[in-house]
């Protein structure tokens, strides 16, 4: 049986709406108007034990709502959700003892207490037997490099240090499932790498199921084998990262360094010399000095042929072909949903 089973989840929030200005404010006192926001409009998926799933979507897509329902702190209007055979919100205390949750923008540590005292409190709250606690703590401290931080009050930690401590705090009771809600938000590059490495090992070595919501596509690319994309409360795509690329990103990118940077700018040189993407059956992605980046469909234009035609037409210093970064693919998916990014395919996420 699947470890997590979500079927046709729906959740509508009532948001109070008010006409702008003084008149609107006065009217709001007498009669409150409500607007309905469909955070989830029928979401279904199943997760097996040991999966590392990326759950992505634009702001307001319903990611956090889904995570909150799966962790038992929000009740859906409709649909079912079973985690390890339990309905999370109905059996909340038993359920939450078996999951770990990290909200990147919040901390579950006690602000005024040294880190290690927060850990000890969590040990008591989760009723972790002392030997199991000592083992889990020592392991997490070693993996996350927390030794020098244990005696420091939480409010004195940097964001990166705090996140590492929060990860440890969420795992002291050895939960088989871990929800990570934007765990790398606001972190510097080394801290992001440390968090990713830790999550990878946790998943590979201990088989912990990880559900990761993020806006950082590097997180997804580095970690996830499966990606669920949600927008407007509905699933847009669910499958391996490779499928996502195949379905939405058959495109390849050709980046060319021109010997004469001037040719990159059609307005600067005479029209006969200028570099034009359309000439090669490709689309211009960006121009940066003498460097141009073309997007092309390898089914229609063979890469070798394209390169031959470009080099025949222009003097080229260097070139390479690559797959477009996942951001571009995601932007394209969101774009297909029209409502979200009217800019259409290729427009970057905000």
């Amino acid at each position: 049986m699947a470890q997590i089973e979500v079927r046709d989840l729906r959740k509508t929030f009532q948001v109070s709406a008010r006409a702008p200005g003084l008149w609107g404010a006065l009217r709001g006192v007498v009669r409150r108007e409500w607007r309905e926001v469909h955070a989830l409009a029928g979401v279904s998926f199943t997760l097996e034990a040991g999966e590392l799933v990326g759950y992505i979507g634009p702001n307001g897509a319903g990611k956090s709502t889904t995570v909150k329902i799966m962790s038992g702190i929000l009740v859906p209007d409709h649909g079912t959700c079973l985690v390890r055979g339990r309905v999370p919100w109905r059996d909340r205390t038993a359920h939450v003892a078996e999951i770990g949750v990290v909200f990147g923008q919040r901390t579950q540590l006690w602000w005024d207490l040294p880190v290690v005292e927060s850990f000890e409190l969590l040990r008591d709250i989760y009723r972790v037997p002392p030997p199991a606690y000592a083992r889990a703590r020592d392991e997490l401290v070693a993996l996350l490099g927390l030794e020098p931080l244990l005696d420091v009050p939480v409010r004195q930690l940097s964001l990166g240090q705090r996140m590492r401590c929060d990860l440890a705090a969420a795992l002291l009771h050895a939960p088989p499932i871990l929800f990570l809600d934007e765990p790398t938000i606001g972190l510097d590059a080394p801290s992001k790498l440390a968090v990713r490495e830790f999550v990878r090992r946790l998943n590979r070595e201990r088989g912990v199921t990880v559900i990761l919501t993020t806006h950082d596509m590097d997180d997804i690319e580095a970690l996830c084998t499966r990606v669920i994309v949600i927008a407007g409360g509905q699933l847009l795509s669910d499958g391996p990262l490779g499928h996502l690329r195949q379905r939405f990103g058959r495109e390849r990118w050709l980046t060319v360094d021109l010997s004469d940077p001037g040719q990159a700018d059609p307005e600067q040189v005479d029209p006969g010399q200028a570099f034009r993407a359309e000439e090669f059956g490709a689309r211009l992605v960006r121009r940066d000095g003498g460097r141009v980046c073309l997007a092309f469909d390898p089914e229609r234009v063979k890469p070798a042929e394209l390169i031959a035609r470009v080099t025949a037409r222009h003097a080229v210093q260097d070139l390479f072909v690559e797959e477009p970064p996942i951001e571009e693919i995601v932007a394209k998916i969101y774009g297909e949903d029209g409502r979200i990014f009217p800019g259409g395919p290729g427009s970057p996420p905000p």
Partner: protein
């Protein structure tokens, strides 16, 4: 029990660190106590030979007990819970494998004991030595009093959880913070000893839960409540405690169904 003891212990220890606030509180309470006892002494002097429900020495002791236990009164929401509701940290509270009512009650219990202890001990010394606070009236009174105080602490904590619960409906607790202190101070006997209230109002005071917070322990100390009357007053505390906990649990169950943890 272990998770709740851990929560209670952590907060209790933390609150014991706020010694400066406690000393400031002691000074304020000595000031207010002096003003109230002076005013009541003047009234007693002006009343001539009319029979009063309490002797002046008893009233003075009653007032000082009230000042010593001032921070026991439930007059606002728990700042920690308020912070959680505003910041969305309530999500983490719900992620604890602990009954939320019990969790909030344990937090409230710490908030209604540690600061009280820090303030009451110096006030007992100062008021006992210099300001006319008398000893418990009898051995019986001295033995019953801790029970009455325990009842008051539990009752106050249950009140506080009820106030916290209002945060699930309205994030700003301003309304509660304007209304509750006045009610609690007046009806518990903190402002004016309840025996001095007019006769026609006493049946109401007798039924309402607020006297269990202050009046009951004070009058047990004075020996004004003893024997059957004391037993009745203690029962009144515990009956209300059960009622408030039941109400709190009911509201919590309803509130949680509608609570929305925003953002993130």
């Amino acid at each position: 029990m272990k998770p709740l003891l851990a929560i209670f212990g952590a907060r209790f220890r933390l609150l014991l660190q706020y010694r400066a606030a406690a000393w400031a509180g002691v000074v304020t309470q000595v000031f207010f106590g002096a003003v109230i006892t002076a005013a009541l002494s003047a009234f007693y002097a002006g009343a001539g030979d009319a029979r009063q429900p309490l002797l002046l020495s008893q009233v003075v002791t009653y007032v000082w007990l009230g000042q010593a236990f001032f921070s026991l009164l439930p007059w606002r929401t728990d700042p920690e819970v308020r912070e959680q509701v505003v910041s969305g940290g309530l999500a983490y509270e719900l992620l604890r494998p602990v009954d939320l009512y019990a969790l909030w009650f344990a937090r409230a219990l710490a908030l209604k004991t540690a600061p009280v202890l820090l303030r009451a001990l110096p006030l007992f010394v100062v008021a006992g030595l210099f300001l006319g606070l008398r000893r418990p009236a009898s051995l019986e009174a001295a033995l019953l009093w801790p029970l009455a105080v325990a009842g008051a602490v539990a009752l106050s904590s249950a009140f506080m959880v009820l106030m916290n619960l209002s945060l699930l409906w309205s994030v700003s607790a301003d309304g509660i913070h304007y209304l509750v202190p006045v009610l609690v101070m007046l009806l518990s006997g903190q402002l004016l000893p309840l025996p001095l209230f007019p006769e026609w109002f006493k049946p109401v005071l007798l039924v309402l839960p607020f006297r269990g917070l202050m009046d009951t322990p004070h009058r047990v100390w004075l020996g004004d409540l003893s024997g059957a009357a004391a037993a009745y007053a203690l029962a009144h505390q515990w009956l209300w405690l059960v009622a408030l906990i039941a109400l709190g649990r009911h509201l919590l169950a309803r509130g949680l169904r509608r609570v929305v943890i925003q953002g993130g």
